[in-house]
Amino acid sequence: MKKLINDPKNVVVEAVSGFAQAHSDIVRAELDPVFVVRADAPRPGKVGIVSGGGSGHEPLHAGFVGFGMLDAAVPGPVFTSPTPDPIVAATKAVDGGAGVLHIVKNYTGDVLNFETAADLAGAEGIEVVSVIVDDDVAVKDSLYTAGRRGVAGTVLVEKIAGAAAERGDNLAAVAAVAATVNSRVRTMGVALTPCVVPHAGEPSFTLADDEIEIGIGIHGEPGRERIKLEPADAIVDRLLGAILEDMPFAAGEEALLLVNGMGGTPQVELYIVYRRAAELLAERGVRVTRSLVGNFTTSLEMQGASISVLKLDAELTTLWDAPVQTAALRWGR
């Protein structure tokens, strides 16, 4: 294992400290328990939005704390859901009296720990509503699994819910728009290489030199199938095919296309993926009116990418375009 770290036990705390220092105009960090919060939190009368989950997916979630998006992020240990304590602390720190939305990716650990935290915060008089994100179409049959996973679509949920909260929507409305985004976004990913969790010290899985994993999760959980390496266009056709099968588009409908890097993939490759995905959507009559390309929901240094398609309408487009000022996403301000 070769990493730019000191003690594996200190990875999260040191990274969070560095992050907060580098972006002190936007956030501050608490280190006991660990969470990252908007520098100006709590904002009276505004619905607070908290997300979180295991570390190793940066910039998710701390990179999305700031004006127009999250009020706080709770990073757990690498690939491990945070415990309820920091979630409760973050929830309290952002409560401006209008209640708090928890955006939770659908992993057993995240769901259970956020559940406990919501109960505890509720017991202290804070109204908490949770929205579970499960955009990953790779998981086919939710009856025989832990259900679809929350992956890169989470970023879109956070951005759009954040814009709704920023313009003054109430808790029910913010939760509703978050749920709407979740219901209209689908994602599927591919891994070319595994990643190494610092405390494990070994790759999370193995792939032969000519193998790729289609439908990978963001912790290196395997996906639908392991196949031989193919040209990028063929891989994109598989990923996008699965997405469009799950969520058909009528000709003329509008979409946001997100090509997300898993952390270790060069940008040229992400744009090659984007190119083919946009081409295929155009062939199907889908109008790509908004785009996002980059590393947003990563798996440490994993090589690979995911494609997310969000079915837009006028309201979602307006909220997407609204100003945002975070470490990782910034426009209009």
Binding site: P77, T80, T83, T108, N113, T116, H199, E202, P222, G223
Partner: protein, 215 residues
Amino acid sequence: MSGTVDAAWARNWITSAAEVLAEHRVELINLDREIGDGDHGENMDRGFQAVLERMGELPADATPGDVLKIVATTLISTVGGAAGPLYGTAFLKAALSAGAAPELDAPALLAALTAARDGIVLRGKAELGDKTMIDAWTPAVDAAAAAVAAGSGASELLDAAAGAAEAGAVATEPLVARKGRASYLGERAVGHRDPGAQSSALLLRAAATAAGASS
């Protein structure tokens, strides 16, 4: 071997569990790397080291229930992941079942183990055969019930429960998972032992060892 277990047993159990989990940290990480995300050993080790540190906060006259309760809250606030809330709930329910009794006889231990198992099911909704820690806990509870029916004491009961949990953990190997991360693997989970079932077996074996030692 003794007929009941007391607070000294509970303390020994926890000390021994922390040791055993530290020893098996890498093994559990590797099991979890194979069909999960490779953190289970790290999570459990971190949690039980934290528990060890907090044992000092217990008053001298703490009951077994008091010990179990501090284990519960510490695991909840330090383990994270799926295992943290699940084990936390298990220990919490066991603590509630044990109540304020200074000693637990075999029927009381059976009740506590059953409560723990039911707590895990309540939170995680797993069934027997889903390839989760339940596949260690349910056989353990059944063996404990058989031991009570056969008139065994607490120490024998724990020994039987640990043995059944160990067999249950091994028996997860041929299964396809239907809960937790391993469920995404489909057929590919076959041939791998569930890390949570394995850590459960280690925990229950530590309980049995502690009962033998403190007898």
